[in-house]
């Protein structure tokens, strides 16, 4: 009965997933928290275990996270009735603007920011990293594109005997051009489709590995609609250009020359 009453009186805390795993704690367990090791503390009940947010800034943090009631926290660390930062939730953008203006006008020593401004500021590093990745991506794509262009030109050049035979049979230059360009476009679209498929599967593997390693829902590799559209469009344009260039060269050469006579 005493234990039950005690349990009812215990304050609750939340801990993060990593602490729960390392300390073998579960929801409903009782723990003692104190400001420093070896000193007396408060017995608390673990009310929830919190997973990490999909936030890049969380990845590098190795400390454990515990959420407890503000008054209990202040009493434990002897900090008094003061806070450095607090968040205000508003209803809608207009309310946020007026709240920012009101706080900045009334509360001397405080500075209010919109959450978006803080997010932009704190994610500046990641924005730089993201730009760096994009630059690597563009260089890779351009290099691959040149390679693809050369391969397509060579592949079409291999068809010189087929093209010669078609021309001798009476197939017009226009028809030969059209068929080569269509074939190159089709091969490019199929190739980019296969590439997108491989990219998607790879992104799943990358995410699975790093999400497990850092215990985060953050997605490290993304295959978005924009990326798919860019890849397919670039491949299609390259295919058509390569096909047209190679076909133009072939149909302008006399069929007998193409046959090596």
């Amino acid at each position: 009965m005493v234990a039950l009453l005690l349990a009812l009186q215990l304050r609750t805390i939340t801990i993060d997933q990593r602490l729960a795993t390392d300390a073998h704690l579960r929801v409903g367990d009782t723990a003692v928290i104190s400001a420093t090791t070896g000193t007396d503390g408060d017995s608390v009940t673990i009310a929830a275990i919190v997973g990490r947010r999909a936030d890049p800034s969380e990845i590098a943090r190795s400390e454990y996270r515990v959420h407890l009631h503000l008054d209990q926290f202040q009493r434990l660390i002897g900090y008094g009735d003061r806070v450095d930062r607090f968040a205000v939730s508003t209803r809608g953008d207009a309310a946020a603007d007026s709240a920012v203006r009101a706080i900045n006008a009334a509360a001397f020593g405080f500075r209010a920011y919109r959450s978006h401004e803080i997010a932009v500021e704190t994610s500046e590093t990641f924005a730089v990293v993201s730009r760096f990745h994009r630059a690597i991506g563009v260089i890779t794509i351009v290099a691959s594109a040149v390679f693809l262009l050369c391969i397509l030109l060579l592949k079409v050049d291999e068809r010189r005997r087929d093209v010669a035979a078609l021309r001798l049979l009476g197939i017009s230059r226009r028809s030969v051009m059209l068929s080569v360009v269509l074939e190159a476009a089709l091969v490019s679209v199929i190739g980019s489709g296969v590439g997108v498929g491989i990219g998607w599967v790879t992104s799943l593997a990358v995410n699975w590995h790093y999400q497990a390693r850092y215990q985060t829902p953050l997605r490290f590799a993304l295959v978005t609609g924009d990326i798919v559209l860019f890849a397919v469009s670039l491949s299609l344009v390259l295919g058509i250009v390569a096909g047209a260039l190679a076909a133009r060269r072939l149909v302008r050469t006399h069929p007998l020359v193409l046959l090596g006579r």
Binding site: R161, D162, A164, A165, L166, R167, L168, L169, G170, I171, S172, R173, S175, P255, L256, R261
Partner: protein, 229 residues
């Protein structure tokens, strides 16, 4: 007898840096409708050059080549391409079937280019494949066919637009003796059915099967007559 092809004093020179190769030195030849002609001679004698001129693939350096009364040497690229499509069938030594297409589709290709409606194309390609004894292989791709079968598909393709002249350049050159004999028989059958056939060959049995044999040497016709033996 109607003259189908008339070559008059045809010369074909291939310029080199300082000199020229005289592949044909004033060749004159008439081919009448329904003829089966073999052009034979040693390598480099000019027989393939002559075939290229007879097929409107190449233009003579001098002289004229008329096919069905048209001087093909004066036609522009577009006109001569269309002329070949509708009036001349080609059979090559190496078949040159498109590997991605089935036998039927290969046969339909020249018809599609000529604007033959799809239903008619299908009917005629089936008929032609039956004619070359490949009615049951219509859906096979070239890689699924033997060399002899591929050559028969190529012959069916050459006949697709009902050409007035069928030209063949070493059509048995890539085939074994037995398969070559089948192709020779097929050419004989085609000629019996009214097709004008001109073949360039080293194959003596193919030359013997022709009704007329033209012997060439050094760019000139040295003998023109019926085959021996």
């Amino acid at each position: 007898m109607t003259v189908l092809v008339r070559a008059r004093d045809v010369r074909r020179d291939y310029p080199l840096e300082r000199d020229a190769v005289h592949a044909l030195r004033g060749v004159s030849l008439e081919i009448v409708k329904g003829e089966y002609l073999a052009i034979v001679g040693p390598s480099g004698c000019g027989k393939s050059s002559l075939l290229n001129l007879l097929g409107a693939i190449d233009a003579p350096t001098s002289g004229t080549v008329e096919i069905e009364g048209r001087n093909v040497g004066t036609l522009g690229d577009r006109e001569v391409t269309e002329f070949r499509l509708k009036h001349i069938g080609f059979v090559f030594q190496r078949f040159y079937l498109l590997p991605i297409l089935t036998a039927r589709e290969n046969v339909e290709l020249p018809m599609a280019e000529a604007g033959v409606p799809p239903a008619e194309r299908r009917r005629r390609s089936a008929e032609l494949l039956r004619y070359v004894d490949l009615g049951d292989r219509a859906r096979h791709r070239p890689s699924q066919l033997s060399g002899g079968e591929q050559q028969r598909v190529a012959i069916a393709r050459a006949l697709a637009n009902r050409p007035s002249l069928l030209l063949a350049d070493e059509p048995t050159g890539e085939l074994d003796a037995r398969t070559g004999q089948e192709i020779i028989s097929l050419f004989g059958r085609l000629n019996d059915d009214g097709t004008t056939v001109v073949v360039v060959t080293h194959d003596e049995s193919l030359a013997r099967a022709a009704r007329r044999v033209v012997h060439m040497r050094d760019g000139e016709i040295v003998q023109d007559g019926v085959p021996h033996g």
